[in-house]
């Protein structure tokens, strides 16, 4: 009723009160515009994926001669060929590397985040700022020194970290720790303090409080940061390409696809797209199912700020 002073706004006052909406646009028009806006956003997000999907199904030379993605012949040939090139190994390697990185990163980050959020600690603000600074660490700064350290370790101990899972997992953990800590701190801070106080009154030790009271309550936050670490590790290209460039036993999906070489005379467009579909579809399903958790994690910093 506060719109009474301005008659032109009365019509729309019930629908949405958000920012730039012209007060004198008719109801149906503003509705259509909103719907159109949503369509633009959805098309933006999906059209390269649709292109990728259709191209992966087009067989022979048609994908190279006719840009219209709805012109066949269509077949699954590209998918068969990509498995003949052992793409399944790349999928397995990515799963193992990302899984291990997540499994190591999250428990370590949870401990640190709990200490920062809840335990008495000197210089908490400094530590949090340091974590934020560390999230900006450029991965390329690790490439030459780690490469050399790996060579050095091999000459000293005979353990080869180049072309190995550990050679990738170890730096992934280090690179994802700061962001995970940052996200987890915001989740731990959201748990009501009364529950801990209650635990203390009941005589629980700090460790018991962490394990029995805090961790179960923080499970959604822990899951969220686990998802984000996992996606980071499946996405990482630079370190994987530097430390495990060719060996199919350890090569991850981004390296397989990003460095795909033509086999024979044919332009490999269909095969590259088939491999892209095979890795994108599970990740997209993963993202759609866990959408709420992911959004909460990605925006944890922004809302706090």
């Amino acid at each position: 009723m506060n719109t009474a002073t301005d008659p032109s706004t009365r019509k729309t006052s019930g629908a949405g009160q958000e920012p730039p909406r012209s007060s004198n646009t008719p109801y149906w028009l503003s509705n259509t515009l909103r719907l159109l806006g949503m369509v633009v956003v959805i098309v933006w997000c999906l059209f390269p994926f649709v292109w990728m999907f259709m191209t992966s199904l087009r067989s022979g030379a048609i994908a190279l001669t006719n840009p219209n993605i709805f012109v066949g012949p269509f077949s699954l040939d590209n998918f068969i060929q990509i498995f003949e090139l052992d793409f399944q190994f790349a999928l397995r390697n990515s799963l193992v590397v990302a899984g291990l990185a997540t499994l190591i990163c999250i428990p370590v980050a949870s401990l640190a985040a709990y200490a920062i959020a809840r335990l008495p600690l000197k210089g908490r603000a400094v530590i949090l700022t340091l974590a934020l600074v560390a999230t900006m660490f450029p991965p390329v700064a690790l490439v030459p020194p780690l490469y050399q350290m790996y060579q050095q370790i091999q000459t000293w101990t005979g353990i080869s970290l180049l072309n190995s899972y550990s050679g990738m997992v170890i730096p992934y953990v280090a690179l994802t720790l700061p962001l995970s800590i940052f996200i987890l701190v915001t989740f731990f801070s959201g748990i009501p303090r009364e529950l801990e106080e209650q635990g203390k009154i009941d005589g629980a030790t700090p460790w018991q409080i962490f394990l029995r009271i805090i961790l179960p309550l923080a499970a959604p936050g822990v899951g969220t940061s686990a998802i984000i670490v996992f996606v980071y590790a499946t996405n990482e290209f630079l370190l994987a390409f530097s430390f495990a460039p060719r060996d199919l036993n350890v090569q991850t999906v981004p390296v397989f696809i990003g460095t795909f070489q033509r086999v024979g005379y044919e332009n490999p467009i269909g095969q590259v797209m088939a491999a892209s579909v095979l890795v994108s579809v599970p990740l997209i399903i993963f993202a759609l199912v866990l959408q709420r958790r992911i959004t909460a994690g990605l925006t944890a910093g922004a809302v706090k700020g």
């Binding site: 506060n2 719109t3 002073t5 706004t9 958000e18 920012p19 730039p20 909406r21 007060s23 909103r34 719907l35 806006g37 933006w44 997000c45 390269p48 190279l64 370590v108 401990l111 640190a112 200490a115 335990l119 008495p120 600690l121 949090l128 700022t129 934020l132 600074v133 660490f137 450029p138 991965p139 390329v140 700064a141 030459p144 020194p145 490469y147 280090a174 690179l175 720790l177 106080e197 203390k200 005589g203 030790t205 700090p206 460790w207 018991q208 996405n235 290209f237 999906v253 990003g258 332009n267 797209m273 892209s276 997209i284 993202a287 759609l288 959408q291 925006t299 922004a302 706090k304 700020g305």
Partner: protein, 308 residues
């Protein structure tokens, strides 16, 4: 285990300032922080220091020869290095600017929507979750002039991948496609914290839509905007995937990350690679710290405030 027992024994309050905590909690805090700190010190901090040290050497195979600042003087007179800096900064400024404007538009659209917000919020994650190297291949093929999807769409006949300027436009387009939705997500979260009453009050005062946007939305969105710009800028500065997949080590697109990586295998010169990685580290950190200072009181201040 030992900690738990010792703290149990001392349960009676003895901390002068904290309410119910004793030495147990303080010790626990240190113990909890140790694994993270050790990990980052050994795997991130030490390599950076090691890189500074190694950048003083000329390394060929297993032979190392001390050259002092030789690599750095080579770097300062290396056209490829300046070219990489230029490419990196052109890519960063243009792509972040577009990502911000398009991301803000998307956020406003989604915030207005009364229907379909759930599905859009899910779909907007699709570009984010597709690995960058995969997205790069998709865009490279869409730009390639053989099937010519982009050319077909625009009715042009541009040789996108071989012309340095147009291929820069190509990777910027690809990056904007992939990350504008991510920016939208961050800004949307910020938009949803703005109380509706502000808009209602402004409307009563007769403020138009544009005025409300400039006087309410933008100022109140400032913290979210700074966070989004920080993440995007730093991420764009260290970009490797799009540039490498589009053009390999070619100078036309080589960013600092690509140019550094090139001295690992393509032209093995590890000492120089270490000098380049050190320089990149310094450049990215300077920009990042500038942003953090910008948001200084805002984020850190409110974090501190929250925890009393």
């Amino acid at each position: 285990m030992a900690i738990a027992q010792s703290s149990k024994a001392r349960t009676p309050q003895r901390g002068p300032r904290s309410k119910g905590s004793g030495i147990g909690e303080r010790a626990l805090a240190k113990i909890f922080l140790t694994p993270s700190f050790t990990f980052m010190a050994v795997i991130a901090l030490f390599p950076v220091i090691y890189a500074v040290w190694m950048s003083m050497y000329q390394i060929t195979g297993f032979r190392q020869e001390f050259t002092g600042f030789g690599n750095y003087s080579q770097l300062l007179s290396d056209g490829g290095f300046y070219n990489a800096i230029r490419n990196t900064f052109v890519f960063t400024t243009v792509s972040v600017a577009f990502e911000f404007v398009i991301g803000l538009m998307f956020a406003l659209i989604m915030n207005q929507a009364f229907r379909g917000q759930g599905i859009t919020r899910a779909i907007i994650l699709v570009p984010w979750v597709i690995p960058t190297a995969v997205a790069a291949q998709v865009w490279r093929y869409m730009f390639s002039d053989n099937p010519g999807f982009v050319n077909g769409l625009l009715g042009t006949s541009i040789n996108w991948l071989n012309d340095p300027t147009w291929s820069m436009v190509g990777i910027i387009t690809a990056d904007v496609w992939k990350t504008a939705p991510f920016v939208a997500l961050l800004l949307l979260a910020g938009l949803q914290t703005i109380p509706r009453e502000y808009y209602e009050a402004a409307e009563v005062d007769g403020a138009g839509a544009w005025r409300r946007f400039w006087s309410i939305t933008l100022p109140l969105l400032r913290p979210a905007i700074i966070v989004a710009l920080l993440f995007r800028t730093v991420d764009a500065l260290r970009m490797f995937d799009f540039a490498y997949v589009f053009a390999g080590y070619s100078n036309s697109l080589a960013t600092l990350s690509v140019y550094t990586q090139r001295y690992l295998y393509a032209e093995p010169e590890l000492g120089y690679a270490n000098a380049l990685s050190t320089a990149t580290f310094i450049i990215v950190m300077i920009v990042g710290i500038f942003f953090i200072r910008l948001m200084g009181q805002q984020t850190v201040g409110s974090e501190k405030g929250k925890k009393k």
